[in-house]
Symmetry: C2
Subunit: 134 residues, 2 copies
């Protein structure tokens, strides 16, 4: 993804297009690894950890990325959220698999009915284990 594209995305979401934000956003766009803040900081070694956290907070506020809490490791993982999707988590390995083969609209309608709220988003994690008989 070009710098100009990253700059535009950030500005369209009301964020100043700093070098650090462009780098963190590009990292999340191009890595499917659901990294932690520490992992991003290690790879982008010229950006401070505080800035990684600050930037992740801003990107979450805009909805560009989401956070996933894996209870196994106690760390927050982050995921670019360009297209809505959900996560399937292997309980034996903590591997996170992206999936988008399900229409969430009926769930939104059910949630609206149950709560009276205007639905703005969702986080779905489905847990599984390796099949006994593949």
């Amino acid at each position: 993804m070009t710098d100009q594209k990253l700059r535009t995305i950030l500005q369209e979401h009301g964020l100043k297009a700093t070098y650090q934000r462009m780098a963190v956003l590009e990292y999340l766009v191009t890595h499917k690894t659901h990294p932690t803040a520490e992992m991003i900081h290690e790879d982008l070694s010229n950006i401070s950890l505080a800035t990684v956290y600050n930037t992740l907070d801003k990107l979450i506020e805009t909805g560009l990325i989401i956070a996933i809490d894996i209870h196994d490791d106690g760390k927050r993982h982050f995921d670019y959220y360009g297209e809505p999707h959900y996560h399937v988590i292997n309980q034996q390995t903590s591997e996170i698999i992206d999936a988008d083969n399900f229409d969430m609209a009926p769930l939104f309608e059910a949630a609206r009915k149950a709560s009276g709220l205007t639905i703005t988003g969702y986080h779905i994690e489905v847990y599984g284990v390796k099949s006994e008989n593949p």
Copy 2:
């Protein structure tokens, strides 16, 4: 819920029926407040915080309760999971609303297809805000 019932539930899930576990489980069964470990510890004042955490871990392992991470407050919240349900979270107030008016079986099937795993459970949080025009 009677002590005998609590004892039976714990033993059926392979856990020793200690006073502390019965108290924590009963607390979660009877409180719809999605409490944190600290809140449980404050209310059950004769049970140590370490035991509250240990017990919550054990109850999660058995599937009797689940954890919900609210990113707003950085604390883990816990919820008795006697019947499958999902959560609608008011982003303005962090209020957690239980809802069960949606059949998750099709999502399980989609997740199985996407991952090849045998699905064992799910955590769903739907986010919303107060409607503009109620």
